[in-house]
């Protein structure tokens, strides 16, 4: 008997400018980070999507059995378990030679705090522009509404759309 209630589906919270969409993503063939960074498609297919306004994030205003998100309009994706939100090479056995830096960044409507895992000298321009990945993972992230500070979302990882970042700050090393 399967002991844990889990499946090939990953439930995550997807944020666009003003909306929170909680939905199920099929991760049988590709993990979430892979699908977000897959530049062969501009869309993400969700099942059982439940939509809330970010100002009232617990109130479900609509639900649909199937929905499509335009990836470039996703600002962040909040995932409860870190391993569900990262690529395999970003998780298992990837800790050697890496270190974490505390970061603070802003996206429309939210400010995000958490840790950025780096493997070399920190160069934010490299983080934000080099490579084909459109989303940067912020580990043990906390996302707070910039206009309603009582609204907070937390996740093992928050994937942030690089194109939607306003300011990106890194704490000094002690």
């Amino acid at each position: 008997m399967q002991e844990q209630l889990g499946s090939v589906w990953l439930v995550a919270d997807f944020f666009t400018h003003r909306y929170r969409i909680s939905g199920r993503l099929d991760v049988r063939y590709q993990k979430l980070a892979g699908q977000l960074n897959d530049n062969t498609t501009s869309f993400l297919q969700l099942e059982d999507a439940y939509i809330s306004n970010v100002e009232h994030p617990a109130d479900i205003i609509a639900s649909y059995a199937s929905s499509t998100l335009r990836k470039q309009n996703i600002t962040t994706v909040v995932v409860a378990q870190q391993e569900d939100g990262l690529l395999r090479e970003q998780t298992y056995g990837s800790y050697f030679g890496t270190y974490l830096r505390t970061v603070f960044l802003t996206v429309p409507y939210f400010e995000v705090k958490g840790y950025l895992r780096l493997s070399g000298k920190l160069d934010l321009r490299t983080v934000l522009t080099t490579g084909t990945d459109a989303f940067v993972p912020i580990l043990d992230g906390q996302m707070r509404s910039s206009v309603r500070p009582d609204i907070v979302f937390t996740g093992g990882v928050i994937l942030v759309n690089k194109d939607r970042i306003g300011v990106f700050c890194v704490e000094e090393e002690e």
């Binding site: 844990q4 889990g6 439930v11 059982d48 617990a58 639900s63």
Partner: protein, 365 residues
């Protein structure tokens, strides 16, 4: 073994939860894939516990939770929210909607079963009756709110004890207990007068069922003329009810006759209801004198039935030469609530009147 309602739109998950709760807890599990159906099942036959998903098409888990809490028959069942929405705002909203516990998927079956067991054990402890025995409420002066108080006490006992309470209306001239609970008084105890073999089954067959779980033995809708109510019959009926229910509340008419004396004899506590008006106080002084053989079980309850200021309770106690066991405040909302057949004690736990009734029960017990 408990009856558990599980509501989730994932069929596989429903089946898995059913299998585990049946195997590990020997529970009876009822499944539902959507909110409206779940509510219909819960209201028809209330479960002992409900496990509810938040994200469901049609009606969300929040709404299911709110409606369960709004219905007297399901107001106190433990509710576990089992959801993939893991954010603090979701937990807060679920608890605000009335959930007792919040679990996020993925969850292990061991965790789920443990939480179910904990909540069922807590509820079982809460279901211990606040009062065991028979409380009789009376006043030899009418219009002091005896029936309303009897209904409030019985409803509170039923709610606290998972329905294990019975309210008896002994007024032979069209009592109003059923009316205040929004029930049609058919059948009523007049049907027991002719019964040849009075037993539990026959008496049960004459009880009304209120949505709160309270059982009611109503009085006849029209006054009984030319037919005597046999004392022995009422003695047997009250004795059967006392065996069947942990708590029995009796609303007595404003007379002392064979029937009321039978109830007073059987009662473990007698509440004499008094208002602050002189005629009521005078009648109560007389009643105390007449019933002095049962002095030890007499309790005086001050009931405010009109708005406005009252004389100090100390003055009333001095006049009666007895302490008051409780004072029930006036609440203008009570009249409207009773007109709807929904007494405040059931639907407004924050009302000062409801709280006074609860305190009274603790003192009486």
């Amino acid at each position: 073994m408990a009856k558990i309602l599980v509501v989730d739109d994932e069929a596989e998950l429903l089946e898995m939860i059913r299998m585990v709760l049946q195997r590990r807890g020997d529970h009876q599990v009822v499944l539902s894939a959507e909110g409206a159906d779940a509510l219909a099942q819960a209201f028809a036959d209330p479960p002992d516990l409900a496990i509810i998903d938040l994200m469901m098409p049609g009606m969300t888990g929040y709404e299911v939770c709110r409606q369960l809490r709004a219905n007297p028959s399901t107001v106190s069942i433990p509710i576990i929210i089992l959801t993939a929405r893991a954010q603090p705002v979701d937990r807060e909203a679920a608890l605000d909607a009335g959930a007792d516990a919040y679990m996020t998927k993925p969850v292990t079956m061991t965790e789920l079963v443990e939480r179910v067991d904990t909540l069922l054990a807590k509820r079982a402890a809460e279901k211990q009756p606040m009062f065991a025995g028979m409380i009789v409420l009376m006043s030899l002066r009418g219009g002091v709110g005896v029936t309303t108080l009897a209904v409030s006490l019985a409803a509170t006992l039923a709610q606290a004890g998972g329905g294990a309470a019975c309210l008896v209306d002994l007024c032979p001239s069209s009592g109003h207990v059923a009316l205040q609970l929004g029930l049609r008084p058919e059948p009523n105890w007049s049907g027991l007068i002719q019964a040849t073999d009075l037993n539990t089954q026959v008496v049960e067959g004459h009880l009304l069922q209120h949505g709160s779980g309270l059982r009611v033995l109503a009085s006849p809708i029209f006054p009984i003329v030319g037919q005597r109510v046999p004392q022995a019959m009422m003695q047997t009926v009250l004795s059967i009810l006392l065996q069947r229910f942990p708590a029995v509340v009796v609303d007595l008419p404003s007379v002392l006759n064979d029937i009321t004396m039978t109830a007073l004899q059987a009662a473990s506590g007698v509440g004499l209801v008094v208002t602050a008006e002189a005629p009521s106080i005078q009648t109560t002084i007389g009643t105390l004198r007449v019933l002095k053989q049962w002095s030890a079980k007499l309790r005086i309850i001050l009931n405010q039935v009109t708005p406005g200021s009252q004389p100090p309770t100390e003055a009333i106690e001095r006049t009666l030469n007895r302490s008051l066991v409780g004072a029930i405040p006036f609440d203008p909302a009570q009249a409207r609530a009773l007109a709807r057949g929904a007494p405040l004690a059931l639907n407004n736990p924050d009302s000062p009147l409801t709280q006074a009734v609860q305190e009274l029960l603790v003192k009486v017990s």
